[in-house]
């Protein structure tokens, strides 16, 4: 499931990258296919052809800078806003390079083309969309001002102006909006995949725990059945062995009834496993519920907390009591057992993780207690 999540995250990254590449391709194709063609073919129609050529080169240089940033980071260059100023300047330069009669003509390529450069520069930048609106408005304003200055405000020119503006701005903003929607959908897909993965992990854990509980219920049922059969066959309820077996079964059943968490803590799981193992060796284990709010333990603490108490439990002869006490910055694990063999330290043992283990023998019982105090 984690692999699927990673895969979809990569898809979202690819969306961002390839839509950026799309913007680069459109701008470059437009710039070489149209801007370059009309600059060369209309060379003699320009008032200042060298200015038009310089503007084309400046456009190309800025477009290369923007393209490098887009390919590396899927965002426009860090100084995209500052670079928009020379772009508007080259827009003016192309206007100046044309005779007034060609202002609305095909060789004035600047005003219809710089919008794509604006898209590249402000792509995926913070506040980039608002800045692009300002940029496109400035471009439209410059052209309108030029038309007013040169007296090109006849009906045909205004109609051409509007047609080119609406056409180019629709394409540029439309591409931007389309890509944004794609990216948002891809991000939604990632979030959904993550949620599904988390749900699946939870479900799988719960199913495993449920199956484990059923297995333990089955085991207890077998024990209970055999005990009832013994009693029905005349076993003496006063016999200490029969009574001990009944008590052991009741304790296991009680512990199962009080287990309420769906996904137990790692420490609790480790303890339960060893309690089960001890019970299989006919050790009578009592273990009050471990609680639900156990703290997150730093690396290595869990192992140090469990090591000595589990040794005491593993070596229990006939009975053991396992307890866990926890607060937000404290955890204490203890085992009291009739373990005669475990070598003990008479002084507290300080583990490198900060866990302190103490041992005590009294009245035929061993008490092993490991405590971790958080910062």
């Amino acid at each position: 499931m984690a692999a699927v999540t990673e895969e979809i995250e990569q898809v979202a990254q690819r969306y961002a990258r390839y839509t950026a590449i799309g913007a680069v391709m459109i701008a470059m194709l437009w710039h070489t296919g149209y801007d370059l063609t009309v600059t060369i073919t209309g060379w003699y129609d320009f008032r200042y052809p060298a200015v038009a050529a310089a503007a084309w080169l400046l456009y190309t240089a800025i477009a290369v800078l923007a393209a490098v940033a887009l390919l590396r980071t899927s965002s426009g260059p860090a100084r995209g806003r500052e670079l928009a100023v020379p772009v508007l300047a080259l827009d003016i330069a192309v206007i100046v390079a044309c005779y007034p009669k060609d202002l609305i003509g095909p060789i004035n390529w600047g005003w219809g083309s710089v919008g794509w450069l604006g898209v590249m520069l402000l792509w995926n930048r913070p506040r980039g969309r608002g800045e692009l609106f300002v940029f496109l408005a400035a471009n439209a304003g410059i052209m309108l001002a030029a038309m007013a200055v040169t007296g090109t405000l006849d009906r045909v020119s205004i109609a051409k102006y509007l047609m080119v503006e609406v056409g180019s701005i629709t394409l540029q903003l439309g591409y931007l909006a389309g890509c944004h929607t794609l990216r948002v959908r891809a991000e939604d897909a990632v979030l959904l995949a993550r949620r599904l993965a988390a749900d699946d992990a939870w479900r799988m854990s719960a199913r495993r725990i449920h199956a484990d509980r059923l297995r333990r219920y089955d085991a207890i049922r077998d024990v209970a059945e055999s005990l009832l059969k013994q009693l029905a066959d005349g076993a003496d309820p006063g016999d200490p062995r029969v009574r001990a077996d009944c008590t052991a079964g009741a304790m296991r059943l009680r512990r199962l009834i009080t287990e309420r968490e769906d996904v137990p803590d790692a420490l609790v799981s480790a303890l339960r496993e060893r309690i089960d193992a001890a019970e299989r060796r006919q050790v009578l284990v009592t273990a009050p519920p471990f609680g639900e709010n156990l703290p997150d333990l730093p690396e290595g603490v869990r192992e140090d907390l469990l090591r000595a108490p589990l040794r005491a439990l593993d070596g229990a002869r006939s009975r053991a009591r396992v307890t866990v006490s926890a607060m937000s910055t404290m955890m204490s694990v203890a085992v009291v057992a009739d373990n005669d063999d475990l070598p003990i330290s008479t002084t507290p043992v300080h583990e490198p993780s900060g866990v302190v283990v103490t041992y005590q023998r009294q009245g035929g019982e061993l008490w092993v207690n490991s405590i971790w105090q958080g910062p």
Partner: protein
């Protein structure tokens, strides 16, 4: 208040829905003994109105946890001992906050420990079973009592060790001092929680016995004004 129970056996009503547990408790209390079972039923309503010094209450009745009924029972001044396998600290704290005098965990209850708790509760003395010690020591709620480090350590060790004697050995103090730490923690816990008549009785007794001073128990300030009722 505690004196009156020295005259005869302490009377107990039991709310428990499992016959095998009822039979077990009945055998523990069989006469002659210091405790006498005067009523039993599988619902709270079935023992309502019965005059008993102590009500023993199983928390899981016919598949439903009755934690939220404890406050109503204690509100009338009834001493309640909860007798349950639900020893989770959160549940123990909830019933103690509601005014229960003690919580006995079914997991390791013995006749002796059960009788000891009932007698202490009937005499309004501080009673502290291992599940209570754990619940009080790990309380991090906003109204938790201000326990000293030694009181908290004594509670935790009492919950996790084999006996108060072990706790004494571990802490390097006398067993009597361990008892004192544990009893003081119980009194502080009663004072810090929501007021309930059963907690007031415990606090008054603790002060009479010299276990705490009136100024150590903030809740008691209001009770001190009613000292006429105590004596």
């Amino acid at each position: 208040m505690g004196q009156q129970h020295l005259a005869g056996p302490v009377t107990v009503a039991l709310v428990e829905d499992h016959q095998v547990v009822v039979d077990g408790v009945r055998s523990w209390f069989s006469p002659p003994g210091p405790v006498c079972l005067v009523a039993q039923g599988s619902t709270i309503e079935s023992v309502r109105g019965v005059a008993a010094d102590v009500l023993m209450l199983d928390l899981n009745l016919n598949g439903t946890l009755v934690v939220d009924r404890v406050a109503e029972l204690c509100g009338g001044g009834q001493r309640v001992i909860v007798f349950s396998e639900h020893e989770e600290p959160e549940i123990v704290r909830a019933v103690l906050d509601a005014g229960a005098s003690a919580f006995i965990g079914k997991g390791r209850a013995t006749r002796e420990s059960c009788l000891e708790t009932i007698l202490e509760v009937a005499a309004d003395k501080p009673s502290m079973t291992p599940p209570m010690a754990q619940a009080i020591a790990t309380d991090e709620g906003p109204h938790r009592p201000q326990l000293s480090d030694k009181e908290r350590a004594a509670l935790l060790f009492w919950f996790q060790s084999m006996s108060k004697a072990s706790v004494a050995a571990r802490m390097g103090i006398k067993e009597r001092t361990v008892r004192q730490y544990i009893d003081r923690a119980r009194v502080k816990y009663a004072a810090a929680g929501r007021p309930a008549p059963t907690k007031e009785k415990l606090l008054i007794c603790a002060i009479q016995d010299g276990l705490v001073r009136p100024d150590e128990v903030t809740v008691y300030t209001s009770l001190a004004a009613r000292s006429g009722e105590v004596t």
